[in-house]
């Protein structure tokens, strides 16, 4: 399976993502933001970091970059696009995903492990995963997801809320919400579920010496689903 990781100026999880994808068998390529074309691939990843310094709003400037047109095109044709952290922010700024990511409720950067509940497995990303709760790592200042009531309803009706913050028992409540996100939303799909944006970083959880191994489950499963 072929994947492409887009590097924006200021991306800083691009290498981590490259390492993770390759570790689990993807043939990955790094794509510089100024290249207008993306080579043929099965998955595009927008990695975490601070594209363009995240000045103005997170992801807003990357949302206007040259390459983003190709990403949109690819997505519209049904290609898989995964945005992690800053990547998620970029996806909302381009309008590929609804809503916005605001500053964390406690106005502090948060770097720690959290649990997320997988709400929907009827998609390429989570199909066949044998766990309902994953322990993943977050590291962000703006992960406080917000959207309009209508959008929320639309997402609920279509099962588009991919993952929600929860505790280790899977309970979704205020205490298990690290950043104030509406309905504990940690990640969402577009209607066709080929685009996934989420705040947690599975690429930081790919061996037992790191923060955990649940990221490995995510990538292995994704590769199998694409085969």
């Amino acid at each position: 399976m072929k994947s492409s990781v887009i590097i924006f100026p200021g991306s800083n999880c691009d290498r981590d993502m490259d390492v993770a994808l390759k570790k689990f068998g993807f043939e990955n390529q790094m794509i510089w933001h100024n290249d207008a074309k993306i080579p043929k691939c099965d998955l595009i990843v927008l990695p975490g970091g601070f594209s363009y310094g995240d000045y103005l709003r997170c992801g807003s400037i990357a949302g206007k970059s040259k390459i983003i047109k190709s990403v949109i095109e690819f997505a519209k044709k049904g290609g898989l696009v995964l945005g992690i952290c800053n990547g998620f922010q970029i996806l909302t700024e381009t309008g590929l995903l609804p809503g916005v990511l605001q500053q964390n409720k406690n106005i502090e950067f948060i770097c720690k492990n959290v649990f997320v509940k997988i709400n929907d497995k009827n998609n390429k990303y989570f199909k066949n995963i044998d766990k309902d709760i994953l322990e993943l790592h977050i590291a962000h200042n703006e992960g406080n997801y917000f959207c309009s009531k209508d959008e929320l309803k639309m997402m609920n009706d279509n099962n588009l809320i991919a993952v929600s913050y929860c505790n280790n028992n899977g309970e979704i409540n205020e205490r298990s919400n690290p950043n104030g996100a509406i309905k504990n939303i940690a990640g969402i799909f577009n209607k066709e579920k080929n685009i996934l944006g989420m705040m947690p970083h599975p690429e930081r959880m790919i061996d037992k010496y790191l923060s955990g191994e649940d990221g490995s489950i995510f990538f292995k499963n994704l590769l199998n689903n694409l085969k």
Binding site: V100, Q102, Q103, K105, I107, F146, G180
Partner: protein
């Protein structure tokens, strides 16, 4: 010419930063501060002499980049 504008959160959108500032102000003894809302302020220098034209350009910039209309309003001053 220089166009000034503000971008503020829409009513009803949570403003954690403003809230934190309000609490800090209260804690510092400014007990009669009831609410603080924080927004952004921009000064855009446009190479354009006609004020109306400059403003309409800036309005376009607001819609396309400076404000996220999902949660923000803008106001050209």
């Amino acid at each position: 010419m220089k166009i000034k504008l503000t971008v503020t959160l829409k009513n009803g959108v949570l403003d954690p930063q403003g809230k934190a500032i309000q609490q800090t102000l209260n804690g510092m003894g400014f007990s009669n501060v009831e609410e603080v809302r924080q927004g952004k302020y921009f000064e855009v220098e446009v190479n354009e002499k006609n004020e109306d034209k400059a403003k309409s350009k800036v309005e376009e910039m607001c819609k396309k980049l400076l404000a996220n209309l999902v949660i923000e309003d803008f106001k050209i001053l």
